[in-house]
């Protein structure tokens, strides 16, 4: 913690960054913080409660954040993959942001409840994450951590869904998606959902019905799944943000496994590696194209 705070203060004092975006203690556990001076930098924290992906704050549409000036962002390995995605897709220039990598052993499934990280309390997405620190960083802080051996309940659930008949799977998702009110939280917190005008907001023609009925919700969540195929960095923010508790991680995880299987691709923290959706190769599998 001291290392992170000292680095933040140094970056601010030397003018390398005008704001250090990290985490601080808030009224309900930790939350995103925007440190612009030494006092605020001294309040920065990093521990297993820091589930929030801070990469969305690099979105150019967040003008009030951009106005603070050149940012330094504290990134876990998954957050660094998100920043890599933004650089890869020309949303952020590498030289415009200072990246402070934190060594990460995973975050808590329930960050607000706090407690220590264990095979029981670790978030599902962290059970299948093999990255403890990122190479996409100007500075790396924290002590090296060993991964926790914990079976992925999410993968088990995906396998259960795969084993269902299409009718059972349909019934499952109709039930889950019926809770969606289309508040857009999943989209807004997603670091890779940066479109200036989301297809779901277009009205002429209206590709995606905005009503939160079965048809509209299915269209929306399918659209989001496809647009994030091979791009989703598994930061878990969509599922964490959903005020209706929809298990969106099951969708992103399944799509990621299809992309890994068909294209041999897993989004990483090297912006130079193209994503399948952003490139074309003559040997791309295409047997699924009808």
């Amino acid at each position: 913690m001291t290392e992170l705070r000292e680095l933040a203060k140094k970056l601010l004092a030397e003018g390398a960054a005008k704001v250090v975006i990290g985490w601080e203690e808030g009224p309900r556990g930790v939350r995103p913080a925007f440190a612009t001076d030494a006092a605020a930098a001294d309040r920065l924290v990093f521990d297993a409660r820091c589930a929030h992906d801070l990469a969305p704050y690099l979105d150019r549409r967040r003008v009030h954040v951009a106005k603070l000036g050149r940012p330094a962002v504290v990134v876990k390995p998954c957050d660094a993959r998100a920043v890599a995605g933004l650089i890869r897709e020309t949303q952020v220039k590498r030289e415009d942001v200072v990246l402070v990598g934190v060594r990460c052993g995973g975050v808590l499934a329930d960050p607000e409840a706090g407690g220590t990280l264990s095979a029981d309390t670790i978030a599902d997405r962290c059970r299948t994450c093999d990255s403890r620190e990122t190479a996409l960083a100007d500075h790396v802080v924290g002590t090296p951590v060993e991964p926790l051996a914990a079976p992925s309940r999410r993968d088990a659930r995906v396998a259960e869904l795969d084993a269902m008949t299409p009718a059972q799977r349909w019934a499952f998702w109709q039930g889950e998606l019926a809770r969606c009110t289309r508040c857009n939280a999943c989209r807004q917190v997603c670091p890779l959902c940066y479109c200036d005008r989301c297809m779901a907001d277009k009205t002429q023609p209206q590709w995606i019905e905005s009503s939160p009925h079965g048809r509209g919700n299915l269209s929306w969540h399918l659209l989001r799944a496809i647009h994030l195929a091979g791009r989703c960095v598994d930061c878990g923010e969509c599922e964490r943000a959903c005020p209706s508790g929809i298990p969106l991680g099951l969708i992103t995880r399944k799509v990621a496994s299809v992309v890994a299987d068909r294209f041999g691709h897993k989004p990483g923290d090297d912006p130079a590696v193209p994503s399948p959706i952003g490139t074309w190769r003559s040997d791309d599998p295409q047997e699924f194209i009808l």
Partner: protein, 351 residues
């Protein structure tokens, strides 16, 4: 109307069974597939889990559903367009175990729903629904009903208020004629009033618990808010906001809606109204491309001012019931009690 009666837990369950047998829809806190408690229609009394925390979303969706058809259209012979009104929802329903803050939100919304235009679907559901609330013991540090003129045992919006008196029983206070009718319709489920002292002790303890962590009263902040429209507070408070609208989705009083026309087949379609939120850029964008609320600070200010200044000025009551859901739901860690405490500190310093 403030007579009281007593009901035991088993009779409350029995009341739910009686209602279901009489084909009255029963709703209340129940577990969703992920185990989280939300307000749901119950198929059996055992599904209701009373006093198991604050349900995920508020009660408003039973009166203003996330999506609702207003009418359908059909293009008939000669291109004549026929409109088919959606039937008014009039199924009798009883909500059992509503949080008082949620019931209060419904009554606050009656004002805007019946102002220049009487919202027929809203009032059809209001008239068909009896709300039995359960006095709250105070839930967590995001609770702030006492800061907005309410209390964990407020009767506002409730037809009947249940207050725990120990031993699994409740003192049931009759608040409205509708509540009295419910008691009169199922006399076998109710006993003579008792436990007044126990009920009073519960209410007092709950009020003290909430008041201990709640921010200062919001009412006196109005003059300061009026005078500081462009205060840097809004810019600072909104830095972490994602503009996601989760706060509005879970809010018992956020009621803005969008109206959309959705074609179903060639020549037919449905006009629907759907929940909307002032937290997205799309909410206020004009056809010209101009957007009067062009950044998140302006949108956060809008949400707070609408609740604490604008609605009270127009309708004489606060558009926040202090349920704390916005703080619990915010993925960015925004916290309304914290914002209000900050405003109170600024307002105190300015005087």
């Amino acid at each position: 109307m403030m007579n009281a009666t007593t009901i035991s837990s088993s009779d409350l369950s029995g009341l739910a069974a009686d209602l279901l047998a009489a084909r009255v829809r029963v709703a209340g806190p129940a577990r969703a597939s992920d185990g989280t408690v939300e307000y749901r229609h119950a198929g059996a009394p055992a599904e209701l889990v009373l006093d198991s925390g604050v349900p995920r979303r508020s009660l408003k969706e039973f009166f203003l559903p996330p999506t609702e058809p207003l009418f359908a259209w059909r293009t008939g012979a000669g291109g004549r367009v026929e409109l088919l009104e959606a039937p008014l929802p009039a199924d009798p329903a009883v909500v059992i175990g509503a949080r008082p803050c949620d019931a209060a939100g419904i009554e606050a919304l009656d004002k805007v729903m019946g102002w220049d235009y009487r919202d027929e679907p809203w009032f059809a559901r209001r008239e068909a629904t009896t709300i039995v609330s359960l006095a709250c013991a105070g839930f967590d540090r995001s609770c702030m009903c006492t800061s907005v003129g309410l209390a964990p045992d407020t009767t506002k919006g409730s037809d009947l208020l249940l207050v725990p008196i120990g031993g699994g029983a409740f003192r049931a206070e009759v608040v409205t004629a509708k509540g009295a009718r419910l008691v009169a319709a199922y006399p076998a489920r109710f006993r003579p009033a008792s436990g007044e002292a126990e009920a009073e002790a519960f209410r007092k303890a709950a009020r003290e618990k909430v008041a201990a962590s709640a921010p200062p009263a919001a009412d006196p902040l109005r003059p300061w808010l009026d005078a500081h429209f462009d205060h840097p507070l809004w810019r600072e408070a909104s830095l972490r906001c994602h503009g996601c609208g989760a706060c509005a989705a879970v809010c018992p009083t956020c009621h803005c809606f969008d109206i959309v026309d959705e074609p179903e087949t060639v020549g037919t379609g449905v006009r629907r109204r759907n929940w909307d939120t002032c937290q997205t850029p799309r909410f206020t964008i004009h056809a010209s491309g101009h957007n009067p609320k062009n950044d998140q600070p302006a949108r956060i200010r809008q949400r707070v001012l609408h609740k604490i200044v604008i609605y009270p000025k127009k309708f004489g009551e606060m558009l926040c019931t202090g349920c704390g859901r916005c703080s619990r739901a915010c993925p960015g860690g925004m916290d309304l009690p914290e914002v209000l405490a900050r405003i109170a500190a600024l307002a105190g310093g300015a005087q």
